[in-house]
């Protein structure tokens, strides 16, 4: 078998990734002190993706697996972006409807919806 002896890598790579995960977690936490906005949102996503990538690639050894396994596992979750997309669309529609029906009428009289 190609990996009869399993995944064996030098210890140093684990210590490096461990350190980086600590560092990026500290950065993630630091974003909580930033004002809301695109910068904060962007940094939250950036550190999230970096941490997730390190865990999957190195700690879970995905970087050393064959492409057939990598795509079998990482391919299907791509579909989830459609789920996120349609539920974001739906949520946006729902909140506009709720604001329209539940809030005090702000629009001047005579303006039809």
């Amino acid at each position: 078998m190609a990996q009869a002896e399993g995944q064996q890598h030098p210890l140093s790579i684990y210590f490096w990734i461990w350190g980086l995960l600590f560092l990026f977690s500290a950065f993630s936490y630091a974003t909580d002190f930033l004002p809301d906005g695109f910068l904060r949102t962007g940094l939250i996503l950036l550190f999230m993706v970096l941490k997730a990538g390190f865990i999957v690639a190195i700690f879970m050894h995905m970087a050393w697996e064959r492409l057939a396994l990598i795509w079998a596992i990482l391919g299907p979750p791509i579909l989830l972006f459609f789920l996120i997309g349609i539920l974001a669309w739906e949520g946006d529609y729902t909140v506009l409807t709720r604001l329209d029906f539940f809030s005090e009428p702000l629009a001047p009289a005579g303006l039809d919806h």
Binding site: A2, A4, S25, S28, T31, M48, L67, P76, L80, T94
Partner: protein, 229 residues
């Protein structure tokens, strides 16, 4: 597993890129050149990915669609030290505890393959201990919020969907951590007893490690989307 010679193709390096995928999938033969337990764990984790994404996407939908103000997690999860409230500090500590446990897990896998069973077992027990600390802190967090009146159906701080999302998402994740602690403790005992020493096969430790790293991975997303967002 240890069936040398049965699949000569396994010993050959795969062709570059897409050709390698096609070669591995196209013929009537084994598709994944990993132990079957590892392939099955990956497929289980794939299904778990869909479950957690459904939870997080549901949370996104209710948070977007509520017309009531969403509570600020940075204040809800603050703790007061020396009269000074520190935002989100409990969650930050939980994050560091879980990352520490991921590191000890990665080392346990490595020492397992080195046939160093006492170190591997000690690291596995350490990982399970960190997991226990994490669940303990989560129990503390739940108690605090329940005392403040947060329920799955209502929430005095704002949108009632906050309670529903919080208990569902962190509860399901906490359940995964608790199950993982039991799983790791069992594997650690078997390592210590020398089961894998006799079979000459420490793959179980790596497979248990995949599960544990996945639990940490899910927390990365929960931390970003539920607590920081």
């Amino acid at each position: 597993m240890a069936q040398e010679g049965l699949n000569p193709a396994a010993d050959a390096l795969p062709a570059e890129g897409w050709q390698g995928i096609v070669d591995d999938w196209a013929t009537d033969k084994q598709a994944f050149y990993v132990p079957w337990g590892k392939a099955m764990m990956w497929i289980f984790l794939l299904s778990d990915t869909f479950i957690f994404t459904s939870f997080l996407t549901g949370y996104m939908n209710v948070r977007m669609s509520t017309a009531v103000e969403w509570p600020n997690p940075s204040e809800v999860f603050a703790l007061t030290f020396f009269g000074q409230p520190i935002p989100l500090i409990l969650i930050a500590i939980m994050t560091f505890v879980l990352i520490t446990s991921s590191g000890t897990m990665a080392l346990a896998v490595n020492y397992g393959y080195r046939r160093d069973r006492y170190r591997a077992a000690a690291l596995l027990f350490a990982t399970a201990a960190f997991g226990t600390v994490f669940v303990g802190m989560q129990a503390f967090e739940w108690t605090k919020l329940i005392e403040e009146g947060v329920r799955p159906w209502e929430n005095p701080m704002g949108a009632s969907q906050f309670g529903a999302s919080f208990f569902m998402i962190t509860g399901f994740h906490g359940l995964h951590v608790s199950a993982g602690v039991v799983y790791l403790a069992v594997v650690a005992l078997k390592v210590l007893r020398g089961d894998y020493e006799r079979s000459g096969n420490y793959e179980i430790v790596e497979i248990a490690g995949l599960y544990w790293h996945f639990v940490d991975l899910v927390w990365v997303f929960i931390f970003a989307f539920f607590y920081l967002w």
